[in-house]
Symmetry: none
Subunit: 401 residues, 2 copies
Amino acid sequence: MIELEHIKKIARASPSKIVLLIIDGLGGLPHPETGKTELETARKPNLNRIARDSICGLIDPVSPGITPGSAPGHLAIFGYDPVKYNIGRGVLEAVGIDVQLKPQDIAARGNFCTVDDQGLIKHRRAGRISTDKNVLLCRLLSDIAIEGAEVSVLPVKEHRFVLILRGEGLSPELTDSDPQQLGLPPRRIEALSPQAERTARIANEFVSQARDRLKGQPSANMVLLRGFARRPDIPSMSDIYKLKPAAVATYPMYRGLARLVGMQVLPTGDTIADQLNTLRRYYADFDFFFVHFKTTDSRGEDGNFQAKVQAIEELDSALPSLLTLEPDVLVVTGDHSTPATLAMHSWHPVPFMLKSKWCRRDDVAEFSERACLAGGLGRFPAVEIMPLALAHALKLDKFGA
Amino acid sequence: MIELEHIKKIARASPSKIVLLIIDGLGGLPHPETGKTELETARKPNLNRIARDSICGLIDPVSPGITPGSAPGHLAIFGYDPVKYNIGRGVLEAVGIDVQLKPQDIAARGNFCTVDDQGLIKHRRAGRISTDKNVLLCRLLSDIAIEGAEVSVLPVKEHRFVLILRGEGLSPELTDSDPQQLGLPPRRIEALSPQAERTARIANEFVSQARDRLKGQPSANMVLLRGFARRPDIPSMSDIYKLKPAAVATYPMYRGLARLVGMQVLPTGDTIADQLNTLRRYYADFDFFFVHFKTTDSRGEDGNFQAKVQAIEELDSALPSLLTLEPDVLVVTGDHSTPATLAMHSWHPVPFMLKSKWCRRDDVAEFSERACLAGGLGRFPAVEIMPLALAHALKLDKFGA
């Protein structure tokens, strides 16, 4: 099987440019009344035009039947085996707010929550407090001092924060305190291995001190922790692929993911039009661009079929600006499906298309789940996307004599 | 996953016959004017007739996006994982000229080249000297004597030769001396591991003595070495598959490859008609035949679309002679694509068809990239070809109770 080490040996730098447009949660399921998916329903002349010039297919982000989280979905597309390179939730939150984690740091995702008089969870998100309030609360917790670890509490957004423990000999092998259920008390954090016992004590001590300091707060009177993790050791895209990669993403998590694989994260605005302007501004400076469009996933998770359709249409109408750049390779796909009817990430394969002068075009004339099924690439694992993109950009040498 | 060891356990000898026709560089890309590939353009009634009686598909020789060299492309079709069984360039050159390498021999591919007064490379191929000249030069280098290794220098063709180092404790873990670029001096050969250091000294000593002996030659006044390698330890096809395999190939490299996997290489002529006559002559004596047609790849590499079309038509018109043999299984495919528009090997999947009394025929009525996409086998890795061929020849027992 071809692994990153083999790709590394045959990858070569070249001036050709690759644009990878990820439409988050792209795949869908038919609306019960029309029998058409979100993508089939949307008016999307530009996506269809790209499809006609492309080779199409359907990707399995991780493996058939497996519903990917955002990190595995993206890592696979970037060419990293998402089973091998597992990024913990805590690390994702941390890199998403520009924290430079040291290799030994332990990061956990935190929620401010509300507990009742008996200490049972009433609101897992403390009624989604404002980010401003979050900042104040994090400051309140920041001078918690625990023997054996330096503690940082950093606000993310609304009720979310990151806890970072820095020190010698800490271990991320810990259970969550967040039971992810109402009416239960926060769980005691347990060590999953003997060498994590000291870290478990430290984490529980943090929770206990946090509870004391939050006492009396109207809603955010407790914390929940989950996803204790350490930064994974991921080879960079420039090392493996000899690329100079950049990311144009609006959400912290995707910017963080991009940074973890060695992309330069470009400053950009909130809309897809802003993002494509950023792409244009930096187009000469990099040879690989990851452009992330988030709204499709958000509307899918909301269960709002029509809003997801509109998000696709909004994206489509912004595309001409991208197409005039005429990248040598343009890949359009998603990191997973988020069918509005399910209102969550799902395991369904995701439409894929690759446009290049050197692609062997198929007869697909529309960008949709059904049409891509007949595409020239068939159904394939997402980790094969990068070798395909590099090949079509003529950035891979021959394998073997 | 099914490996050779599993196939070995269920393979059984039987009188049925398999013919594997490899059309080198078969796959193509559309001509910009007609939108049709070489294969779609060619008049090929016999290939189409076979397609109608076959189950068709598209193979990925190594992995999607990976452009295979000739060796990996063929090894995969013979059922050997081309990543695991990596044949070095030096070994390929050696087996291609009928050198019987001993297991410990080190072989390297050599070029006679031209260097200027400063020792910088002016012509990497010494202006493609004649093979006759090459023979004379190899004789000149043949009595180079180095402590610790027996040295052989054997002519291949034009500027190419093989260097063989024979002796105890040699290692192929060496860098190339060939920088594969003009204007640079040949590189010093470096050991890639401590145990290769003595071999590096021997190889550098060979280069130094060769330089002295070639001094004053008008063009071929230096040598370049690359691809130091030892014969890989490949289990034979007869051992794994219980076959009695034979090869009908005109080019040395393919004969050499066939020999490496244990095929008997049959004497044959230069044309496909000669080759099919050879097939007929030896048909009773073997139960597996690898027939290699080279011209398609050569014309593709020349970038000559029309000549590649003609090569396909030439092959097609020779096929009736093969078809009258009525092999139990006939497989027709290629080791990789060589689109004339790219003028090089490429990563694109390759049309495949398998004709047998026991195949589950599909609706494919034409042998082409586009038509095979709708074939019953879909897109699949080339290492699965041998199990499919053996199965259809009823040469594989049931797996498991």
